[in-house]
Symmetry: C3
Subunit: 267 residues, 3 copies
């Protein structure tokens, strides 16, 4: 009995689709945490971006000193992600707004599972473990939408946009956002794409660049160029959207139509 050529092609296509998914690494099914039991009080949950949320109720003194953390922070909330840093700082900013914590560390490994960007190590400090846990929970929840304006094509090239009308302490401390003001992030990969996105964005509205990053500057050698902007909330949003439009027109030249990793939230 022979396998028809058409059937064979169908099989290959189906397998390649699965392979694609695996290689993207972003469609990995999130474990059902309602049923994940590891018997460790440190475990809080997981989220998009191969993210794990953890908590230490009473951090060891020696470890705390090594990390240069103030003794008043008895409890630590911890976020570890393979993929993404922009989504995580946005989520962490929501967390510090809504919990009695401080974002102590925000480090950017060069990861993303073979792609060209960053992962995240974030550490919140709190005086009470309930606060640390709350910050981690809020961060994990917010990661359900903060990947919405990462648009990636099959070859792993992407743009990332973030926007908030009112930046809080996390964005202020690590990405130069003025407290309580609108802040936006405009990123392109490969980095060359980001330069053109940035140029289009700042020409589209009256915004101020507060920080920028490139493969050799302010990144961990990711293949990204990015600007962080502030200004009136309408202007920041307009600039961010202009950067996105530029990227969505150019990305198809490099490996296919980009798709949002979640649902775009900047409108």
């Amino acid at each position: 009995m022979e396998v028809d050529i058409v059937q064979e092609e169908q099989i290959i296509k189906r397998v390649m689709d699965e392979v694609q998914k695996k290689m993207q690494g972003n469609d990995a099914p999130v474990p059902d945490l309602s049923t994940f039991k590891c018997g460790m009080t440190e475990f809080v949950g997981t989220a998009f971006g191969d993210t794990i949320g953890l908590v230490i109720a009473n951090v060891d003194d020696v470890l705390r000193e090594r990390l240069g953390i103030d003794p008043k922070f008895r409890s630590l909330g911890i976020i570890g992600s393979r993929t993404g840093a922009g989504p995580q700082i946005m989520a962490a900013d929501e967390a510090v707004k809504a919990s009695n914590t401080e974002l102590l560390k925000f480090e950017l490994p060069r990861d993303t599972k073979g792609h060209a960007g960053h992962g995240t190590l974030a550490i919140f400090g709190a005086e009470e473990v309930s606060d640390a846990r709350r910050a981690v929970e809020i961060t994990l929840n917010a990661l359900s939408w903060t990947f919405g304006d990462i648009h990636m094509n099959d070859a792993g090239n992407f743009c990332e946009l973030q926007y908030t009308a009112r930046a809080s302490y996390a964005l202020n401390k690590f990405f130069c956002a003025p407290l309580g003001k609108a802040w936006g992030l405009i990123v392109g990969c490969p980095a060359g794409l980001g330069v053109v996105m940035a140029d289009t964005a700042v020409k589209a509205a009256n915004v101020e660049i507060v920080m920028h990053a490139s493969p050799a500057y302010n990144t961990s050698h990711s293949n990204e160029f990015m600007i962080m902007i502030t200004g009136d909330s309408g202007a920041v949003k307009q600039a961010v959207i202009a950067g996105r439009e530029t990227a969505l027109k150019l990305l198809p030249a490099l490996g296919g139509i980009p798709k949002s990793l979640q649902t775009p939230y900047i409108r």
Copy 2:
């Protein structure tokens, strides 16, 4: 009806071949740019190495200042690549020879789509947009041959060789090439391979090492060891070829026979 085991094996083999190609990332079909229309004057074209070429006619003043670019450069030519830095600096050197531009930035992200080397962010400055565009076009065209002496095996280990009889301003500025003299690049991955290639190369001919790089020095933590050499053109070529011969003998020990990514050009 059963699928014969042999047929099944054939299917699996065919799929694995496709997977291999995808994982190499280097065989991705280049879009047919004669038909790619994005309606953006910034788009110039694409090339090997997941490379995009872009141009900004009048760069925003604030962005220009952020990047520390002299105001006389109104126009920028931009190259963004996921894979390769040696091929891009060679191509950019051709571009500055043949256009009225200066290579302002050459940054090395740690990329190559999961492999062990670099990508590229290159920015040319020009007073006229036609010059910036010309530099980008020349660079994209030269990328059709500058990957020719990258020889990679199935496991992603490789050697890279570059050679020019007459280095120009791009190689001079970023890789210590004396202007107008012969210059060669000898790279091995993993880095240990590069050390032996370098030793063989400098013993093979009377050349001078003008620069070297390793995972912790002068790279963005790529898994490469490399030397840049100068001297008489015959000697430089001889040294480069000796380094290549060493690598082509050793690479099969680590993941199969290496293949050129294009067509070797150093003879």
Copy 3:
């Protein structure tokens, strides 16, 4: 003739298993070195982790000076790996114990073939080529067990543990181990996992932290948090095992049950 849906599923499953293996990159068959002939006296052998072992009998003087190596070291032993740095420093420490060599360089590329850790460039110096070769052989051999306590899941998240009752010069020089004392390494990926492993470990036994590393500190931007510890040998072992237990409970939340890359050796 139709291919039964169940058969199609089986084919897809088998292919995905192969893809998985390829993507892990850790199951690449090691070439049979008893038969690998490249006709180069520099070649010593290969080992786990896409590792190649090489030797240079009389290193070129100019190259030696470039690398800042003392002229007394005429011969170099060289290790190049795509995957792993902890296993290699453990193996190199065995080598310096048992050979008349010094570990001159230990550099950490950001590699692991798309995963989130390091590779290795190690250079031994010796006065005699036989000593350099011996150091490389011992290192390659030790790599048959030093990956034993790296436990990785399907998504590439992992923990790594290393332990020695008596650290020698390589661990002393590069990872702050007191000479002749017990030393342990506790690593988690993503980095957030490593923070909790570290906390659990130092609480489990009376040990001293001699060094730590995170994505922005003492790593090449890998997605790892790690501590290096010393103390009584029983205490160090106990702490290392406590760190491992924590990781093995938490890792299944992120991409499946972790498996040892070889056979665990810390008991």
